[in-house]
């Protein structure tokens, strides 16, 4: 027999069902894993990044001897075990100091991975001493710079941070919940900038403040609340074409059906074309009168003869051939 993992009780059954692939997916959760060489700064940075992502986070406290760019099988194991598809791993060495490795997983396999090293001018949440984050709010995103539309590395970063922090997917947004702004900025490519020397990514978090403007729309001001990181971009693993295609598929069931023949005109009225089936006039209810009832129909024999005579006269003008065969019984009216 094949071995199927069969949950022994209702709780484990629910837990397994939660892990299964779904049509409408849950919010991606992130796992923060300290590497063997992680230091205080990286720990604090991870705590800050985690504060923004809460409650969809898990954190490991023990250090792990892993080199993700050489062998990421262990990260895949962590992802599967914890059902997290986002992961941040910290390493620090002389060549790549204070590095965070952001990886995404698709079906518990590494989808893409990018190495971001924190540059010295960072400022942590505790240095701002402003406030903590309210749990589970959807932040707004601002991407400054044309590179996010054109350069593959920055497109990767855009997709990564949107995926990481966008939170719950919803079609209704509370106005009071519009509070935080995550701003990612990148300067322009220099003439001498190669793949190894890309302009750094500026990661800033602001709080929104609105003021009266005399109009309906408010005047917006922003206040930096941290954390503040400038990231130097390092190594990168991009998804293979096949996996990328698979991961970006949209389920057919969720795609909106196109309604034919329905449109709205310039007044905002719904205009539609209706196709009515062919009407059978024989069954049309005309005026109800006693004399028209079926049982008052005259006897068939006499009627038919009369009809035939009448038809023959008519047909003489067009063609006789068609009516050579015996006439089918005429329907009584």
């Amino acid at each position: 027999m094949i071995r199927t993992i069969k949950p022994k009780n209702a709780r484990s059954k629910r837990a397994l069902a939660k892990k299964e692939a779904k049509l409408v997916e849950n919010t991606k959760s992130a796992l923060f894993v300290p590497g063997a060489t992680g230091n205080k700064l990286l720990h604090d940075a991870m705590v800050d990044l985690m504060a923004l992502k809460k409650p969809f986070v898990k954190k490991f406290s023990k250090k792990n001897e892993i080199r993700p760019f050489e062998d990421y099988s262990e990260l895949e194991f962590f992802a599967e075990k914890n059902d997290t598809s986002l992961m941040v791993f910290s390493t620090h060495n002389k060549k790549r100091p204070n590095t965070l490795i952001f990886s995404r997983f698709f079906n518990f396999k590494v989808y893409d991975m990018i190495e971001l090293s924190i540059l010295p001018n960072h400022k942590l949440l505790q240095d701002f001493k402003k406030l903590t984050f309210t749990l589970g709010l959807k932040p707004m995103f601002v991407f400054n710079g044309p590179l996010f539309d054109s350069h593959p590395v920055y497109q990767h970063l855009k997709s990564l941070f949107l995926d990481f922090y966008r939170g719950e997917e919803t079609d209704l947004q509370d106005v009071a919940g519009l509070q935080y702004i995550i701003a990612l900025s990148a300067g322009e490519l220099d003439d001498n900038s190669s793949d190894k020397n890309l302009p750094p990514l500026h990661f800033r978090v602001y709080k929104l403040k609105t003021f009266r403007s005399g109009q309906k729309l408010p005047r917006v001001e922003i206040d930096e609340i941290g954390p503040r990181f400038d990231f130097k971009i390092g190594r990168r693993i991009s998804p293979s074409e096949e996996i990328e295609k698979q991961a970006n598929e949209r389920p057919k069931q969720l795609q909106a059906k196109v309604k034919k023949n329905v449109s709205t005109d310039f007044m905002g009225d719904k205009v539609a074309q209706i196709h009515v089936g062919k009407q059978d006039l024989g069954k049309l209810q005309t005026r109800k009168m006693k004399g028209l009832k079926a049982r008052y129909d005259q006897d068939s024999d006499f009627d038919e003869e009369n009809d035939q005579d009448f038809d023959d006269h008519n047909d003489g003008m067009d063609s006789d051939i068609e009516y050579d065969a015996p006439q089918p019984k005429k329907q009584k009216v």
Binding site: E25, P139, F143, L162, E169, L172, S185, G187, P251
Partner: protein
């Protein structure tokens, strides 16, 4: 009025218009940033904040002009007070983001479902678990505890069925026979289920 002058403007002019993904509350500004300002330690923060503020203003302008839905659902139910909430109806997100897991595949049809499809058999309409018992005038479950299918089990007198007559089963208690029949059906169903699961996985 003099008050109007105090207010700062809510409009922002950009050489290249920004694009929005309102489903994700995101805005993308394709205007290039000044590298010299970004490299200068003193100017950088002010420059980034100013650029971001402009873009946030544009984003907020867009978001607040979306259709609004007001509900009376209370956010905090512990107080028992109903406060109205203004909710903005967001459009579908535009930016393609990878899924977490592949799209679930449809379950392969069982052997019965294949057969039913071939013969054009429609699924029975579910008419509930309970059935009316004429004898007692009560509604009883069709199966399970005190189910209708266990009727014979507790009778003091049970007719011997015609098909059992003149066979070796004739002398066996018909009550236990009906129980054995039921158990057999369950076994058979389990076997069919296992076979379907096996076919589905291979």
């Amino acid at each position: 009025m003099s008050e109007e002058k105090e207010y700062k403007s809510v409009t922002v002019d950009k050489p290249i218009p920004t694009t929005f993904d309102l489903g994700n509350l995101a805005t993308f500004d394709p205007n290039p940033l000044d590298n010299s300002k970004l490299k200068n330690e003193n100017e950088r923060e002010a420059y980034l904040t100013a650029t971001t503020r402009d873009n946030v203003q544009l984003l907020i302008n867009q978001i607040l002009s979306l259709p609004v839905k007001t509900t009376t659902d209370s956010q905090v139910s512990s107080t028992g007070q109903n406060a109205t909430m203004t909710l903005i109806q967001l459009p579908e997100p535009i930016t393609q983001l990878p899924r977490e897991k592949p799209i679930p595949k449809a379950k392969p049809p069982t052997k019965w479902e294949q057969f039913a499809a071939r013969k054009g058999i429609k699924a029975k309409t579910k008419d509930g678990k309970m059935v009316y018992d004429e004898a007692t005038g009560q509604w009883v479950p069709k199966w399970g505890y005190k189910g209708k299918n266990k009727e014979l089990d507790n009778q003091w007198l049970v007719e011997v069925e015609d098909k059992v007559k003149n066979t070796e089963d004739e002398l066996i208690d018909p009550r236990s026979l009906s129980r054995a029949d039921r158990k057999k059906l369950i076994k058979k169903n389990e076997l069919q289920h296992k076979r379907n699961v096996k076919n589905a996985s291979s």
